[in-house]
Amino acid sequence: MAEVPTQYGIILAAILFSLGVAGILLRRNIFFILLFVEVMLNAAGLAFVVAGARWGQADGQVMFIFVLATAAAEVAIGLGLLLRLHHQFKTLNVDEASDLRG
């Protein structure tokens, strides 16, 4: 494998992470918000793999596997809640589905 500077890997992760944050701020639909949470988690996982590769350790990949498990569990519950939300509120808009005072 040729040389890829570590910093470019981290920057890639940072850009993807920021795109995820932007997405959450911009979209009002819970479905998309959940999607962007996944994007953010993936970006963080990428950062771990890059860091692990930089030090030549397997730990980065191991953390990525744990992140994967977490994302899976969160998505399962998140989408379940999404379906319930749609059932109750008939909308997926975060501003409209708001009984509780913001």
């Binding site: 795109l19 999607l35 990428l46 590769a53 990949q61 399962a76």
Partner: protein
Amino acid sequence: MIVVFYIASGVAILSTFLVILQSNAVHALLYAILSLLSVAIVFFSLGAPLVAALEVIVYAGAIMVLFVFVVMVLNLGPGAEGQERVWLQPRTWTGPVILTLVLVGELIYIFLARPGLALGGPAIGPQEVSLALYGPYLLGVELASILLLAGLVGAYHLGREPSD
């Protein structure tokens, strides 16, 4: 190989960016899956073949598929497009976009200022990762399975039809 990294990075960034702009849920998902696949290629170019495979199998192949199921169940396809367009007004997105650009700019500056090592050397393949998982990270594996159990029980409970 470094060219592969740059191309894959570019595709990842572009497709993630496009996810933000889509009003159709299915299109957004497709771009998201594309982004995940390119990240998998990035992993491969970094010498991490195991997580590259896992990224495709689990992230793109299971988690995104769950999203696709939800789209199908809720019928978020073309019908919902009109709604989304209304919400994406320029005055809504100018603020967050400027903020994000500033943040990204800062982050890039910070990370470039730090001279990093070149990544290179042998790939860290499945064997090394497995040894780590069975060795120091043993408790982590057990804990991860408990985490998934919690997710399972929770999703099961939330998914049942309420008795009313």
